[in-house]
Subunit: 308 residues, 2 copies
């Protein structure tokens, strides 16, 4: 079988990492690329993780066997519409967005006959953005969740799953709505909370704010790292996963009010019991191999945990 021609639409952290990874494992015949910003396109030409950088999405998608949309969620449908006329029969369209039902809802109606959609979400990322942030090992040992529509082409699904497996990911299939609910609590809500607490600190009186930065190593520092993630990507995640995020935020708020009351009324037992229960979840995470019980928490590995 011939190696596929892959098109990367969007050349930021994920797009550039895909390019590096596909080249590292020699999985493609040709990689074409497109990014909206001329600066990113120029930089991608210099870095060489794609074979040809085009000045339009359609130019990059023309003749491709597999097209990856690596763009903020709000840009997915407009780009899919742009490239649809040039997609060849049998082409597979996939994406790396952090919310999945909206990708199905937005793009399925745009598909022409003979083009197949297999939405995907690699659970991998860093707080850095842009074409210089990518590296081939980003996806190694990480989950990639695929949420194909109910009626689909199995060959298309296998093509996308195979590419992810070949660059080191573990592929799982999931219902798109279930994915969005799980990610709302594991990723979207933690990011919202981190953005919020760093924002609260930013509004403190300036002398207190200086001390907050100076003593940030007491816990706050980890939140600033999460809150440094790409603003547009995250804006779109919250808008596109609104229902699940609001549902989880509602539960979070109820629980937080209960803790707040316990602090105000000095309910020591409630606090201690709550804080003891959370240790069990931590142990489950370690048992599941998602973190290591060691001083550096596996963070000397090249791949890092804060993807959307």
């Amino acid at each position: 079988m011939n190696k596929p021609h892959i098109a990367l639409i969007g050349l930021g952290l994920i797009g550039s990492s895909l390019g590096h990874a596909f080249k590292k494992y020699e999985l493609t015949d040709h990689i074409s690329g497109y990014a909206r910003s001329p600066e990113t396109r120029a930089r991608a030409r210099e870095l060489g993780f794609v074979d040809a950088v085009h000045d339009s999405a359609a130019g990059a998608a023309d003749g491709a066997d597999v097209v990856f949309l690596n763009v903020p969620l709000s840009a997915m449908a407009p780009l899919a519409e742009d490239i649809m006329p040039v997609l060849k029969s049998g082409a597979v369209l996939t994406d790396v967005g952090s919310v999945k039902q909206c990708v199905l809802d937005d793009i399925l109606p745009l598909l022409k006959d003979g083009v197949f959609l297999v939405p995907g979400h690699p659970i991998a990322g860093t707080e850095y953005s842009g074409p210089d942030a990518g590296f081939a090992e980003l996806f190694e040992g990480r989950w990639c969740i695929l949420t194909p529509p109910g009626e689909t082409n199995l060959h298309a699904v296998e093509t996308v799953a195979g590419l992810w497996r070949d660059i080191g990911s573990e592929v799982e299939f999931m219902d798109a709505r279930h994915h969005d609910l799980v990610l709302a609590i594991t990723s979207h809500l933690p990011h919202l909370i981190a953005f919020n607490i760093v924002g609260t600190a930013a509004q403190l009186e300036s002398d207190t704010r200086s001390a907050v930065i100076k003593y940030s190593a007491s816990g706050f520092r980890d939140f600033t790292r999460i809150a440094a993630s790409d603003p547009i990507m995250w804006r779109d995640i919250f808008l596109k996963n609104k229902e699940a995020v609001l549902e989880m935020l509602g539960r979070f708020n109820e629980d937080l009010v209960a803790l707040q009351r316990a602090i105000r009324h000095g309910d020591a037992d409630y606090l201690q019991n709550t804080f003891s229960q959370t240790r069990e979840i931590r142990q489950s995470v370690i048992d599941a191999g998602q973190d290591v019980d060691a001083p550096n928490f596996g963070r000397d590995l090249p791949s890092k945990p804060d993807a959307g």
Copy 2:
């Protein structure tokens, strides 16, 4: 000048790390120790980071030049009362608690003539507890904040400051109430939020909970690490820093409600602006040398950031 006899009351993560560090740098003539639990005392005898383990706090404090209270905040005053009769004239009493005004309020009235109180707070820790968790390098390159009372003995202050500097810490002096306000936002609120979000996840339906653990690397994982910290220590921190924590929690909640409304009403500009501002705080943290702009975030260093 003779090296001091140091007493360590409390032999968990901080107490054992102090013992290891004082021995590594040969700063003491003798280290006596006490812990409430017989198991901890037995383990401390085996590990050898103190010279003598006593079965009472008074036994350990008898004849000591400097006494460190390394216990949850609610245990500070009872222990200070216990040991006061045996403390010699000129003895210095210090602590490592994460809230400082309460230590002044609780212990100053108990002091007898000739005994001096110099409260302290090392900004260092891990999520592990107990005598096996300690290591000599825990305090290296970390801040230690001292909050001596208005009227005090300068020699006592210099003794405590000197010991922290000799084990690698950078000593800063601060007003106790200002310390408590700063730590409320940098440490106490982040921990409360982490405990809370992990608690919210623990109450999800079991199939969703399994998926949450499986895909925890998308952000949630870091919160489970913070939420694995010692429940009793943290219970006491929230009860003893009630006013500052409730104040910061109030501000946090106001900001979170604004984000929640923006999500519900689809206010893309508000979300993007909020998420952009938080990046600047992150850059300040990096500029202040409190984190590094590198893939492993300095987490291959032996000391770690999540102290109270």
